[in-house]
Symmetry: C2
Subunit: 248 residues, 2 copies
C-alpha cells in the first residue's frame, strides 16, 4: 500500500488496507489540452481525429484518461497524451478549467480537466505532417466544427482566457523562437486579439515589465528596413501581469 503525506496511524493503516476503489462508482477522469499556434498571421488549434469509440471519427482535443500507473500528476498526464498522440514535446501548459457531469461522455459520469498552451509552430510540424489524424485547424474553423464531447466549449474558454492574457499580461514568448524581435511578439498579441495594437504602448509595457533581455544582436533577416534587435526571455520569468489592461 502506498504511503501518503499524512502520518498513517495504526487504525488508519487498517482502514486503507480494506479500502478498495472498485467498490465505488467512480467518475471517469480525462485530461484534455488546447494547443494554439500562430502561422501566417492566423491562430491555429490542434485537433486529433478520434480512432476509437465514442465519437469515433470526430475531431476533438488531444487528451485521454489518467493512467494511475504512469501519470505522476495531471500535468504529466496531459503531456503524455500530447506526446503519444501528436508527438509534441511539453510546452508550458496552463490550467484551464474542470468540467464534469453525467452527460458529457456516453461511457458515464466524466470529468475533463483541461490545460492550454501557446506554442511555436516549428516545434511540432514535423511529426504532425507525417500523420493524417492530427492537424492544425484555423481557429475560426475549429470553432465551427462539431467536436467530440464538449470540446467546443473548452476551446471557447481557452480562447477567452488566452485573449484576456494578451490584454493584461505579456503572453508567453514560448510561442516564439528562443530569440525574437519585439515586432514578432507584438504580432503574436495582435493575432490573438484579432486587432492591431499601438506599438508604442506595447513597447512601453515591455520596458516596464523588465522581463526581456536585449541580446545586443540584430535579426539578419532579408528585406528592407532597419534590422530589429533580438530579445530573449529573462530566465525564471513565469508571467508578468500589468496593473492596467490594453483596451478590449
Amino acid at each position: 500500500m502506498s504511503q501518503g503525506l499524512i502520518p498513517v496511524s495504526e487504525t488508519e493503516q487498517s482502514y486503507l488496507n480494506n479500502y478498495n476503489i472498485h467498490d465505488f462508482d467512480v467518475p471517469l477522469t480525462t485530461v484534455d489540452s488546447v494547443l494554439f499556434t500562430v502561422q501566417d498571421g492566423q491562430l491555429f488549434t490542434l485537433l486529433v481525429q478520434r480512432a476509437n469509440h465514442p465519437a469515433k471519427g470526430m475531431w476533438g482535443l488531444p487528451g485521454g484518461f489518467v493512467d494511475t500507473q504512469q501519470d505522476t500528476d495531471l500535468d504529466h498526464c496531459a503531456q503524455r497524451h500530447l506526446q503519444q498522440k501528436t508527438g509534441i514535446e511539453a510546452p508550458f501548459l496552463q490550467p484551464l478549467v474542470a468540467l464534469g457531469n453525467g452527460q458529457r461522455d456516453p461511457r458515464g459520469w466524466s470529468t475533463s480537466i483541461s490545460f492550454y498552451a501557446l506554442m511555436a509552430h516549428a516545434d511540432c510540424q514535423h511529426y504532425v505532417d507525417t500523420v493524417s489524424d492530427v492537424q492544425w485547424f484555423p481557429l475560426a474553423q475549429a470553432q465551427q466544427m462539431s467536436l467530440a464531447f464538449d470540446h467546443t466549449k473548452i476551446l471557447d474558454l481557452a480562447l477567452k482566457q488566452l485573449q484576456q492574457k494578451a490584454l493584461d499580461s505579456l503572453v508567453l514568448a514560448y510561442a516564439l523562437p528562443e530569440t525574437f524581435t519585439l515586432t514578432q511578439l507584438q504580432h503574436l498579441h495582435e493575432v490573438i486579439l484579432g486587432r492591431s495594437i499601438q506599438s508604442k504602448s506595447f513597447r512601453r509595457r515591455i520596458e516596464q515589465a523588465q522581463v526581456l533581455q536585449d541580446t545586443g544582436e540584430v535579426s539578419d533577416t532579408q528585406g528592407k528596413g532597419k534590422r530589429p534587435s533580438l530579445y530573449r526571455l529573462k530566465p525564471d520569468i513565469a508571467e508578468y501581469r500589468f496593473v492596467r489592461n490594453l483596451e478590449a
Copy 2:
C-alpha cells in the same frame, strides 16, 4: 445504458455495452470548497473536522467524493457536500483549480476539483453554531494549521484569487445583505486585501461599472453621522472587470 449527447451508432452502442468502468484503475475524484466570510473586520474560512479516515480528526475543506448517482455536475456535487456537512445553502461558487496526483490521498491517485465563494456570515452561522466539527477560522490561523491532504495549498490559491478579484473586479456583494451601503462594500474589499482603499477611487469605480442600484433608502442604523444610502446589485450582473486594477 445511458444516452450521450453524441449520436450513438450501432457499433458505438455495442462498444458502450461492453464498456465497464470497473475494468480500469480510475483515479478518485473529490470536490472541495473554500468558503470565506467577513466578520468583525476579519476574513474567516470554513473548515470541517474529518470524522473518518484518512486524516481522521484533522481539519480540512468541506467536500467529498463525486456521487455519480446523485450529482448532476461538479458544482452540484460541491453544493451537496456543503449542504450535508455544514448546512450551508448554495452561495455563488467560483471554479478554482484542479489538483491531481498519486500522493495527495493515501487511498490512491486522486484529483481535487475546488471552488471558492465569499458568503454572508449570517447565512450559515445558525447551523454552524450547533455542531462542533464545523467552524469558521480566522484566515491567518487556518493558513498556519496543518490541514488534511493538500488543503493548505488550495486555501492559499483561493485567497490569491479572491484578492486578485478585489483588485480588478467588484467583488460579489453576495457576501453582503441584499441591500448594503458603499462603505460596507468597501470594507469588504479592504478586509480581503488587508489594506485600506481610497474611498474616492472605490466609489468612482462603482459609478462607472453601473452594477449597483440606489434603492433611494438610507440605512436606519443607530450611531452618529450621515446615514448612508442603501444599494442593491442590479439583476443579472455576474461580474464586472475593470480595465485598470487598484494598486497591489
